[in-house]
């Protein structure tokens, strides 16, 4: 028999019993009893029908489930009967469970969902790393020749692929359209175990230079731009004015590197330069991913790579000295940068849930006192303690389930907000952010959390409630008893834990707020007011000669400078990381060379951006091609790498770019002519070591044009556009934006996670305030009698008020002490996320404590005032 057949089974039993009773009744009537007497006699002969029914149910073996169903029904009835309690408790739990489910959706989308490729556990990311002086651990891509050496380890890797992101424009029709595109090596796509929906992948020949004019389209581009043309193969797509033959279309579900919807894939053919011995040092920008051989673990692969790195260091000391290889699971590599923030978020919401549990447990405790009589009656008519606990626990789990369902609704809303925020600010680079939702993992997690929550907050109150002394409860006197003090201890313990947890969250939020305020006050090193910035990208096909590029920018600067309302104008191409050797300083060990971001600028960029000079001189027009190559360095570069000398007049030689396939600027000796203030913009957290070189000496094809104006900056954009078109009537201007706006966006990305933690901390504060309010109110109501006697004996209202407040204060203080200790021991985790202060910043801790104590005291004040306004006459008469 299955338990869902219970209903049928039950009807069957009823019929059976009825039939027996009827028979018996007939027999009794044959003995000449009146119909009524016969019925009673039959019942007597049969026995206690309810008991027999129950015993028969037991015999079926599903009594436990039946009891559970009955308990659940009863629980719902009980909850309906006290809507105030139910509403408070469910909302509290919904907030706690909802916040957890929402954050867990993030964890699920990012960490738990496996990569959408076959055998994802075989996929690894590869990188080169070294311990960089002044910066610590530095990881880069892998250079071309090194990749070939790695791929040769056939017993470790099935395939090793590499790629470069490319920003192609589709140059067909009237409007060039930019398209997300990637240049991929022969093995890059096969690693993901994907085949094109139509057509084919690249051949080995097509990844050689001169044969690489082929392209594979992403599914979406094929749909939107080519209307899903089934005869697309063999047609031509023009990318940056070069024709590419379309050889395939990817399937709709395919995403590159986990979640990237790419428009176009073209072959990545490394140049002879990049494949040469020199390329071993200069092409470390290749994003490298690989598929392990079956049965090879990441650890084994790492060991093999360690050996290989050591060998390569001796064979190619110039390029490889100091460099190691790092192998990590590809999935972990994708989410590495947000793993720890996720953990902190999860911890924060867990705290909120625990506080919510504490509150509901307290509510249940108070409720148990109210329902003491009911429990006692149940016990008196024979319910075992186990039975009572089971029933009370069922009630709390039902409560949790209602709260959990509501929580899921909140989580759904939360997920939508998270998805919007994460995709809106792409700077978060949260992988898989577009698919944050309530998947089965989240649902399972929420279910488990709900059940667990129900047991956690329900168990202690249930155990205590079931331990009733029948005599005392049934008499229902308000007198204190032994069990009362146990309950009080539990209640206080709960509030103390809540306060402690809330304080930990508050200090965390406080640290983040102080960090944010600190970052707001960071000296950006620039003056962003009245500056408009925009991008100019000269197409290679038109400006292939560097002379033309320089010529364009020179003309542009002249024209814009001449516009009315322009006070200063400059261009800059922001930094790529370079390594350099300060000349005259002792030669550092290979692998420990100083590093900096190399910015290519025009002399006017310093006044345009408002970057102040510290020493020496700015760049000048005279620093032209053919003149002595010069550079400015930032203050940080100066005292990091020339700690004991004045760098001005000295030389440095740039060793090689890491993030570039190109070779420009390598091994060039530059004279340092000036030191400028540090600037921050891309990274607010740390001052950067910067090099500035003139564009006349280092031709560039892409730059930001920065214009400082004396009028409203955006009003000048049309005339700048005219100036550009006057030089080249096809050249577009990209994304004109106020510098202040750009900076605001940078802060925006910081603000969101901080806001989240802040919301959680406020919730915690609110919930713990509600908690202490509830406990103090309860205490006061239980002690009305005692307080009334005190007042009757001459205590004045103020004394009563003070006594209650003192009690609340004592509880708060213990919670604060525990919370401070916990926050301090957790501060190490926060150390990476604070700026300008220590993670143990005393001011923050003091402020958080103050806020908490004030809120707690305010929560105590209301019940305390009620206590002090007790009318002794009335209170005592009510007894």
């Amino acid at each position: 028999m299955k338990w869902w057949q219970l209903r049928k089974r039950n009807a069957d039993l009823e019929r059976e019993i009825q039939s027996d009773l009827d028979l018996e009744e007939e027999e009794q009537r044959e003995r000449n009893l009146s119909p009524e007497d016969a019925r009673y006699a039959a019942r007597r002969a049969f026995g206690n029908t309810s008991l027999i029914r129950e015993q028969t149910h037991e015999a079926w073996g599903w009594a436990n489930i039946e009891r559970l169903l009955a308990d659940i029904r009863y629980a719902f009835r009980a909850l309906r009967k006290s809507p105030g309690f139910t509403l408070t408790a469910t909302l509290t739990l919904a907030l706690g469970i909802g916040a957890n489910a929402a954050i867990f959706s993030l964890v699920s989308a990012i960490v738990l969902r496996p990569l959408p490729y076959p055998n994802p556990e075989q996929l690894v990311g590869l990188g080169q790393w070294r311990n960089q002086k002044g910066e610590g651990y530095v990881q880069t891509g892998v250079s071309g020749p090194n990749i070939l050496d790695i791929a040769a380890q056939k017993n470790i890797f099935q395939q090793v692929g590499y790629c470069r992101w490319a920003g192609f424009n589709i140059t067909e029709g009237n409007h060039p359209e930019s398209v997300d595109s990637v240049m991929a090596s022969l093995d890059m796509l096969p690693i993901f175990g994907v085949q094109p929906m139509i057509g084919r992948l690249f051949t080995a020949e097509e990844t050689q230079q001169g044969h690489d004019q082929v392209a594979i389209l992403g599914h979406k581009l094929w749909q939107t731009r080519y209307a899903s043309d089934p005869a697309i193969l063999g047609k031509t797509i023009r990318l940056d004015e070069k024709p590419y033959t379309i050889i395939g279309v990817m399937p709709a579900r395919f995403r590159f590197t986990w979640d990237q919807e790419m428009g176009v894939f073209v072959p990545l053919a490394l140049t002879p330069d990049e494949l040469s011995e020199q390329g071993r040092a200069t092409s470390r920008d290749l994003q490298t991913q690989a598929r392990l051989q079956t049965g090879i673990s990441v650890k084994q692969a790492q060991a093999a790579m360690d050996t290989l790195a050591t060998n390569l260091e001796t064979q190619h000391p110039v390029a490889n000295k100091g460099w190691g290889f790092k192998v990590e699971p590809l999935h972990a590599a994708y989410y590495r940068h947000i793993g720890e923030p996720l953990l902190i978020m999860s911890g924060a919401v867990l705290f909120v849930l625990l506080i919510a549990c504490g509150n509901v447990a307290n509510l249940l405790l108070a409720r148990a006192t109210v329902r003491k009589r009911e429990t006692a009656i149940r016990a008196a008519i024979g319910a075992s303690r186990r039975r009572i606990v089971a029933q009370l626990l069922t009630e709390s789990v039902v409560l949790a389930a209602v709260g959990g369902s509501l929580g899921l609704l909140l989580a759904y809303i939360g997920d939508r907000i998270l998805t919007f925020e994460m995709t809106h600010y792409r700077q978060y680079s949260v992988p898989n952010a577009s698919v944050i939702n309530l998947d089965w993992r989240v649902l399972l997690f929420s279910l488990a959390l709900t059940l667990l929550t129900g047991v956690i907050f329900g168990l202690a109150p249930a155990l205590i409630a079931s331990r009733t002394d029948l005599n005392e409860s049934l008499r229902e006197t308000g007198a204190n008893s032994a069990s009362e003090s146990g309950r009080r201890r539990l209640r206080n313990g709960l509030v103390i834990s809540e306060i402690a947890l809330a304080l930990v969250l508050l200090t965390g939020a406080g640290l983040l707020i102080r960090t944010f305020l600190g970052l707001m006050q960071v000296d950006l090193g620039i003056d962003p007011t009245n500056v408009v910035t925009m991008g100019i990208d000269l197409p290679h096909y038109k400006y292939s000669a560097t002379v033309n590029q320089t010529q364009f920018f020179r003309q542009l600067l002249q024209r814009v400078q001449a516009l009315p309302g322009v006070t200063a104008v400059g261009i800059e191409q922001p930094g790529a990381r370079v390594f350099f050797q300060p000349e005259g300083e002792p030669v550092v060990t290979p692998g420990q060379e100083p590093t900096a971001s190399l910015n290519v600028v025009s002399p006017g960029d310093f006044p345009a951006m408002g970057i102040a000079l510290v020493a020496g001189r700015y760049l000048a027009q005279s620093d032209a091609d053919g003149a002595t190559p010069v550079a400015l360095i930032s203050a940080t570069a100066a005292h990091r790498y020339w700690p004991n000398a004045n760098p001005i007049g000295r030389h440095l030689s740039v060793l090689a770019k890491v993030y570039s396939g190109k070779n420009e600027g390598a091994n060039q000796s530059l004279e340092i002519v000036g030191i400028v203030k540090d600037r921050r913009g891309y990274d607010l957290w740390e001052p950067r070591s910067d090099l500035y070189v003139p564009f006349e000496q280092h031709p560039i094809s892409f730059a930001y044009l920065n214009v400082r104006t004396s009028v409203a900056p955006l009003s000048i954009v049309p005339s700048i556009r005219e100036a550009v078109l006057a030089i080249d009537d096809e050249q577009p201007l990209n994304d004109p934006m106020l510098l202040t706006e750009q900076i605001a966006r940078t802060y925006g990305t910081l603000r969101f996670p901080m806001t989240l933690v802040w919301i959680f901390a406020s919730l915690a504060l609110l919930l713990s305030a509600v908690g202490i309010f509830g406990v103090m109110s309860y205490t006061v109501s239980r002690r009305t009698h005692e307080l009334a006697i005190r007042m009757a004996l001459g205590a004045d209202r103020f004394m009563v008020l003070r006594q209650i407040l003192r009690e609340g204060f004592g509880v708060t203080l213990i919670g604060v002490a525990i919370g401070l200790a916990a926050a301090l021991s957790l501060s190490r985790i926060m150390a990476d996320y604070v700026y300008g202060i220590k993670a143990t910043d005393p001011l923050t801790y003091a402020a958080a404590t103050m806020v908490l104590v004030l809120v707690a005291m305010a929560a105590c004040y209301i019940p305390a005032r009620r206590a002090s306004s007790v009318n002794p006459m009335q209170a005592l008469r009510n007894e």
Binding site: M1, D12, L13, R15, E16, I17, S19, D20, L23, E24, R44, A45, F46, G47, N48, T49, I52, Q55, T56, E58, A59, W60, G61
Partner: protein, 117 residues
């Protein structure tokens, strides 16, 4: 009350056996089984026949009896008839021999002289 409790406790252990034994005569419904046991023990057990049903359902669950609603031969009405299964027959033998051993053992303690005879 006390006496009754005693007899029903005794019954609890042996009720299964008594039911199985009764069913050996052929299929019967609950009321018949109850009446039979009452009559045979001359009402000594003072059994309320309602207490049969938990036992009957237990036996059914163990597969010792099967149950089916059937129309009674002598009247136009359906009763739930219990039937002994093969498994039930074996169980009856087991319980019977256990009961015998038990009562013999008890008898040896209670009336040692009689045993010597």
């Amino acid at each position: 009350m006390a006496g009754k409790r005693q007899s029903s406790n005794l019954l609890q252990g042996t009720l299964d056996m008594l039911i199985l034994r009764t069913l050996l005569y052929g299929p019967a419904h609950g009321h018949q089984i109850g009446k039979h046991i009452q009559r045979t023990t001359e009402d000594f057990l003072q059994m309320q026949h309602g207490s049969l049903y938990p036992a009957l359902h237990r036996l059914e669950k163990r597969g010792w009896v099967t149950a089916k609603w059937e129309t009674a031969r002598d009247r136009n009405r359906e009763f739930k008839y219990y039937r002994l299964t093969e498994k039930g027959r074996k169980q009856l033998l087991v319980e019977e021999s256990q009961w015998k051993q038990m009562s013999e053992a008890v008898a040896r303690v209670m009336w040692p002289a009689a045993e010597e005879n």
